[in-house]
Amino acid sequence: MSQAGIETYGAYIPVTRLPLSVISGRTAKEGDAEKAVAWSDEDAITMAVAAGLNCLQGVDRSRVDAVILATTTLAFSEKQGASIVAKALDLTGDIKTIDISGSLRAGTLAIQQAIDMVKAGSVRKVLVIASDCRMGAPRSGIESSLGDAAAAVLVGNEAVIAELTASASHANEMMDVWRRQGDAFVHSWEDRFINDHGLIENSAAVIKTLYAKTGKTGKDFSKACLYATDARNLGSIMKAAGIKPDQLQDAMFGKVGCTGASFAPLLLVSALEKAKAGDALLVTSYGDGADALVFTVKGEAKDKNNRRAVSFYLHRRRTVDNYNKYLSARDLNVTEYPSPDDQGISATVQFRNRDENLSLQGQVCGSCGTHQFPKGRVCVRCGSKDNWKTMTYSACRGKVLTYTLDAFYPSPEPPTVATIIEVVLPDGKPGPRIHMQFADASAKEIKTSLPVEFAFRRIHRAGRRPNYFWKCTPIQQTAGGAV
């Protein structure tokens, strides 16, 4: 049995980019610094599902015994996020679902936790997803530095491509950045104080401990994935770690931004995309203390060229041309009346429909082979009753049969494209027809017969709760254009 480590990986970065020039009211030019922003139908959960789907590509899902979600931006104080993610990923019921939250270091803590679980032999594989969707106050400096993204790694001890060979942690208590219960925005104490005595001092300390434990120095690493909030702080941490610029994993400042709990895992995934057997990777992260991890690369992901991770999403972008659209997408525009806190969707109905809504599960008729979504009792084609086999369509593709552009649906960029799609099964035959919204693209891109794939999204907030369902998106290549 080999050592526990990372078997495969995936990532997700929202397609939408907010140029910093647009925040200050200027017209964006190509090449302007920008940040990745979750759009109105995205949050930490939907991004986690997307990264998780990418990570589980080609993996036998029945071997995943636990899901750990690492985030500081859960929608609920009481109600798990990992359980929603696991259901959307259609993972079997007899698994552990765990949230690790509260700290920006949650991502690296979760990876270490998962490795310990596998080493202890209590689980076979653990899907670790770090996803964060933090907001700074509109037009604040913090807003410009943050970004939204998710990174996923599958931890196991079978086909390990990167083994955790050393780690060190430091705990530290200070008020540097925080959100109180109910705060929408990240707050912080004075810049130089929190950088010097928080991020840099703790990162330097944990790196020193790691080097002392392992006898390694900066020059022993092929790549260093260093958590920082901006380029200047990154420079200080590089210096403390003895890392030269050519060893540095691009931190994507001005492209994605600092993505909180998912930042260090995102850099790690980015490094794994290019890593070769024998490489040593240094990963540090910070938040209420600091972590330093050493991964020794054993091999490459089998399907690395088809795997959607950081490099895929870096090229897939569309820019927001108007800051108001961003404010609207993140529900930050002032309105006189808050949306009513009605009961929202019946939790009972939601319970009965969870297979369809969260897992995109339908069924195929045992008599005539007709696929049906949502599930029903009687076949629409042959009329036979209760003769069904369950099917999950989230990994299939589809094609647009028809559409309309709905100007009434509340959206930061109306009209909303509503489609009827036909699922295309892996063998090319038609699956069920589903009424779905079209996401991540403008109304100009919709046409009949357009090939689509499915994305898990927050479809509305009835009852001021996030309500999730699947949307369709153009097959994700490198979409472009302005929002």
């Binding site: 929202g344 969707i345 019946s346 109905v349 939601q350 429909n353 369809e356 809504n357 007709t370 696929h371 049906q372 979504f373 949502p374 629409v380 084609r381 049969l401 028809t402 559409y403 309309t404 552009l405 709905d406 100007a407 009434f408 649906y409 009209p415 909303t416 509503a418 009827i420 038609p430 069920p432 027809r433 589903i434 009424h435 919204q437 109304a443 009949t448 479809i459 509305h460 009835a462 309500n467 999730y468 369902f469």
Partner: protein, 385 residues
């Protein structure tokens, strides 16, 4: 084999109130206004003795059928019928069957709705389940546009011409809500609601009530000398077409099925010739277009040529929506089907005033379809027995 409803029931009284944004009128006001017009039309002086039962239909009812018994202060058997936009015709159908079965002799049919008390402009967006949105009625019907356009070459301009026709007809109906002539250009430039439907492709939301008094055909002349006979009332429904793997987005089975049943019941073999005037469901202009074809008035795919030639205009071969339809009356859902029957009765009796046709019709059809669409009802009336 059933022998249907043909010539068993007659309409002897009709009434419809002013349709519109009736801010200062309640359900009670509208029900009383329309019902007392129908009483007067039927020569009913003592409804407590002359009416045996009531069938009513309302989609937005706040309190259910009691709204009707309360308004009319009647102690009678009362049934409320519900089938989305076909609610009005379905209430009429249920009432006709009760008379044909000999259970009741004279029955009041009350279709009404009061959506403008809800404080929302435009369609209601109901959230019952996560997957329901966006689910405005415009969005449900609009999904048929692009496939039809691609297959048969019709365009938004053909839809616009339907709106122009109905707006014109509506200017001639005293009880209509919108009385405004529009041009094709105005219709095409209306604010987008759900592509390809602009504002002028959509029926308005309005309040209204329409009422008929029906009785046994053999007793009809006790009420008036020119009763209108029910030739057929038929209903068709189905599951959501959008999840039907065989649906081609160019036809609605509920209409085709209801029409086939109605024509068989009425003995009609060539509807394009034997139907002289029709009120069809024009919640959206495309609904009217597809319905021309689904009812078999013209071949599938040919609507654009007939629209261009003015075939369905007031002066055309087969006038459709002679009072301006849902487009100008608005769509108080429970009222609509009954309102159409009222218009057909007026046309058959030659009492349509400026909306009169160049040739006096003797057979008239009305049609509703609603839901996704999932439910349809068709009524055929004739002046001759």
């Amino acid at each position: 084999m059933s022998d249907g409803l043909k010539n068993k029931v007659a309409i002897v009284g009709v009434g419809r109130c002013k349709f519109g944004e009736n801010w200062d009128r309640s359900e009670e006001d509208m029900i009383v206004d329309a019902t007392y017009l129908a009483y007067q039309d039927a020569g009913i002086e003592d409804p407590r003795k002359q009416i045996d039962a009531i069938y009513c239909g309302s989609l937005y009812s706040k309190n259910g059928p009691v709204e009707v018994s309360e308004a009319l202060k009647l102690y009678k058997p009362l049934t409320m019928v519900l089938n989305y936009c076909a609610t009005g015709t379905e209430a009429f159908r249920a009432a006709c069957m009760s008379v044909a079965a000999g259970v009741y002799e004279t029955v009041l049919v009350v279709g009404y709705d009061k959506p403008k008390d809800r404080g929302v402009s435009g369609p209601s967006v109901n959230i019952r389940d996560v997957r329901d949105l966006p689910a405005t009625p415009a969005g449900w019907f609009a999904v048929c546009a692009q496939p039809y356009f691609e297959k048969y070459g019709a365009t938004r301009e053909h839809l616009a011409k339907i709106a122009v026709k109905n707006h014109h007809n509506g200017t001639l109906a005293p009880e209509s809500f919108l009385k405004k002539e529009i041009t094709v250009e105005e219709a095409l430039n209306g604010r987008m609601i759900s592509w390809p439907f602009g504002l002028f492709d959509c029926a308005a939301q309005s309040d209204g009530c329409a009422v008929t008094v029906i009785t046994r055909a053999d007793k009809a002349k006790n009420f008036r000398k020119d009763p209108v006979y029910v030739k057929a009332v038929a209903s068709g429904s189905g599951p959501n077409p959008n999840t039907d793997p065989d649906f081609d987005f160019c036809r609605w089975k509920p209409t085709e099925n209801a029409a086939a049943e109605a024509y068989k019941m009425a003995g009609i073999t060539n509807p394009g010739k034997e139907i002289h005037v029709a009120q069809v469901h024009d919640c959206f202009t495309l609904t009217e277009l597809l319905t021309y074809e689904d009812l078999g008035f013209i071949p599938k795919g040919s609507a654009k040529e007939y629209i261009d030639s003015g075939y369905f205009q007031l002066t055309g071969e087969l006038p459709v929506n002679t009072d301006g339809g849902l487009k100008t009356f608005g769509h108080p859902t429970g009222a609509t089907g009954v309102r159409m029957i009222v218009e057909n009765v007026l046309q058959l009796r030659g009492q349509a005033g400026p909306r009169s046709l160049k040739k006096q019709p003797t057979v008239a059809l009305s049609h509703n379809i609603g839901g996704f669409p999932t439910g349809c009802a068709v009524a055929i009336l004739g002046i001759e027995k």
